[in-house]
Amino acid sequence: MAYKRNIDRLPIIPADAKVQNVTCHYCIVGCGYKAYTWPLKKQGTTDSNWAGTDLSQQQGAETDAWYAPSMYNVVKQNGADVHLVIKPDVDCAVNGGLGSIRGARMAENRRSDVNGTQQQRLTEPMVWRYGTWQPTSWDDALDLVARVTARVIDKDKEDDLFVSMFDHGGSAGGYENTWGTGKLYFESMKVKHCRIHNRPAYNSEVHSTRDMGVDELNYAYEDYQLTDTIFLIGANPIETQTNLFLNHMVKGMQNGARVVVVDPRRTVSVDACEQVAGADNVLHLQINSGTDLSLFNALFTEIVAKGWIDADFIRGSTIDGDVAVAEDGAHPSALGSFEAAKAACHLSLDEAAEICGVAAADIAKAAAWIAEPKDGARRKCVTAYEKGIIWGNDNYRTIGALVNIALATGNIGREGGGVCRLGGHQEGYYRPSDAHVGRPAPYIDQLIIAGQGKVHHIWANDHYKTTLNAAEFKRVYNRRSNMVKEAMDARAGATREELIDAIVGAINAGGLFVVDVDIIHSQIGQAAHVILPAVESGEMNLTSMNGERRLRLVEKYMDGPGDSKPDCLIAAGIAQHLERVLREEGRTEYADQFKGYDWANEEDAFMDGYNKGNPEVTYDRLRAMGNNGVQEPVTGFADGKLVGTKRLYTDGRFTRHGREDGKALFCLGGWRGLQAPGKAQQKANHRFLINNGRANMNWQNWFLDQKNEFVMDRFPVPFIQINPEDMAELGLKPGDMVEVFNDVGATQALVYPERTARRNETFMIFGAPAGTQGNVVNAGTNELILPNYKQTWGNIRKISDAIPAAARVSYKSWEVEL
């Protein structure tokens, strides 16, 4: 039987409940919610309540006067237990009252000592002592961190400190926290060996579009409602940007927009588009995995040949001449003029059809849908891409080729246009320059495998789940961190000085000292020697911007678990302890670099960072802007409101590359096959494509959902979708456990039959707590160390019949039947 909460009735929000602005912190869309809190021994009634509605009656569809059990919890607020309801905000322009399967469970996924939810949240610092983790005070834990760290760094010699730190908004990210960590590692120090939460280096995921002058978030969500064509590449928005799809893309289709989807997999987004727009208005180009670049170059060639270009735009907004930026180690393709791109990117429909595996006529049809003028005017086309190409073959050239199409057709900076990534987390990046990191950035995970690094500070990263070549990484990381654990165990009872000497001895013998800052005890956290508990959005005030650059303040509506703290204040604590230790050691000049962290709260960190660059923006002003916030960049403050920017580049000047002429560049990248090392060989030697991505239910919140019964009942272990005929050949039944293996590693998954999956093409869940897909992803990246998770091939064998939990699972198709 399916999991049921057996909740027949919920407390009613009273009319005088406290109301707080909340932007959902899971995905980049950032839906608006309201958090209602009220004292435990009070309640509303059916005729006196927050909604002013007679709740003794059944409410109709889409009512604002209902909330699900998942939207309710009992949490601590200023030390007291209070009722909490977090429900979608009908007045938010982003989601219009819609809640996703993720965001509408925010309340349930809060730690509650009363209801027992999320007991996995960390509550106090812990250090490795006596063979396990022991709770301790912040001062004790930070002193240990500072003393060990101080032994491996010195002024201008900080390469032995490795740092993994999130750079995003939402979740536990946001401007406050990226500034806190950024100030510590990029201002007080110049740490070069660092990486971001989902990839093995500190780099942009979209270098080429920026180098071409085009910021990757340049439109407004309303452009989907104003456009003629929605062009989706390597994206699955009904699952991963749910309410952007339902509240904006659907309306666009209802307004007559057609849809072109590029994806080797038939996603539920394709099905949903067909449901809304009709199959005749949806063109799914089901290409061979990793061949996007050839498709885009053929589309560009066809559009140019047909003359469906915006010559005035090209003349006014893009450079003349030939090559402006040469191909080199930092640029996997040359960049230059439209004319140069015509030559460099030329690919015929037939050539592309041969590479992509889709019909030349369909490519021609897509070109017409994207660019053929409509009623004598520009055809409005909004282009959206995400991990399918970001984490796919030849990232730089592929994204560049896509932006070429938007530039050639003048579809940037105009209503119904834009060429944007859809995004994962919200954004919330405010840091000192990272120029010292270099480009290409160091490949951190491979350096760790090679024995480099002595101390590793980790901020809400879990390499064990989200890296490539994960099997080898884990083997090495466990060994190196265990060397330090063993050294600490051998010195149990020693003084602090003796303990530090023992740790440093183990480090110098090849060990790694690990400090893990997180909200839960993560998988990589199992290797840590110090664990520091952080809070996330709502447990602190936090600012972030969404995929249309909409900046909002989430108001703190509950206490963090136990003694946990905002990351910015943890970073400040590390800085302060480093300053103290360095001063004690007489390293005065270096110690002085760690001054300037006297922040009492997260607002102080915001004022020290983001506000200094954006002096109009304050907490009070953001609070007043509510869940609709303001779209960045903020240009002023007038009539009591922050003034923002609906879409970028409306003046036709492109600036992201820093060129003073404001001219965009085209990407001159031709097709060159599977670019990353080892991919072509792996494909040749294995039967199945192990495509991978996200699932609606738990993407962006699986770290919490691993302790959520509703989710774990549906997917007790991560699945692999396989064509039923392939299953029959392998002797597999639904729910069987299989091992996926190849030349670099192995992992496991539960078999889920999928009739729309092509033969020999499977789909796995990325980032699962169990069954790490990264185990079978090889170490190959592009020249700028962008991981190539998507192009992975392997073989499959059965290892077990269905486990009991798998018997509860429905194995029916995800496609709606109306």
Binding site: R9, A61, E62, W66, L98, G99, N696, V816, E817
Partner: protein, 176 residues
């Protein structure tokens, strides 16, 4: 969305209490015999009415019967699946009943017999009638409310409870 895939106006009316005008000819609408009692007592658990929905002889495999439970304003279906399922009632263990309001946004769902699912026209969620209403794919944050059934010695089928909160009401048995 195409209009014919949205909730039709008659079914919308159902949500406002107009059940008598729209229930199909074959529908046996249960009246909430126990509701008055529930309204006057404040107890820790909701008191569900025991409502006669139909007789086993009225059911045809894969042809859902419209019902209202716990009261006429809460539409559901009574369904004979034809194969025994966990939680199924009756001698064949194959009779189930569910709310048909999608727990996401309350749209009225339709039954798809070939794979025995309930499907939402609003945002495309779908639920498995053979797996206790497990959401196969969708936006709801709970599985579908299933009604507990009892079959007496005359083959009369009674609904006697629900296992999730029904969309549009903060108490499964309306109160106040």
């Amino acid at each position: 969305m195409k209009c014919n895939r949205l909730v039709d106006s008659g079914r919308r009316q159902f949500l406002r209490g107009g059940i008598l005008g729209v229930a199909g000819a074959a529908a046996a609408v249960a009246l909430p015999a126990g509701q008055a009692q529930a309204q006057v007592q404040a107890r820790a658990m909701v008191d569900y009415p025991s409502s006669k929905l139909a007789n086993l002889a009225d059911l045809v495999v894969d042809v859902p019967m419209d019902i209202g439970y716990p009261d006429a304003d809460s539409p559901g279906i009574l369904l004979k699946l034809g194969t025994r399922v966990e939680g199924g009632a009756g001698p064949d263990g194959d009779v189930v009943a569910y709310s048909v309001l999608c727990p996401h946004k309350g749209f009225y769902m339709s039954y798809h017999a070939p794979d025995k699912t309930l499907n939402c026209p609003g945002h495309f969620s779908r639920f498995d009638c053979e797996k206790g209403g497990q959401q196969v794919w969708g936006h709801a944050t709970q599985n579908l409310p299933q009604f507990a059934l009892r079959v007496d010695d005359k083959d009369d089928i009674y609904a006697e409870g629900a296992d999730e909160l029904i969309y549009g009401r903060l108490s499964n048995v309306l109160q106040g």
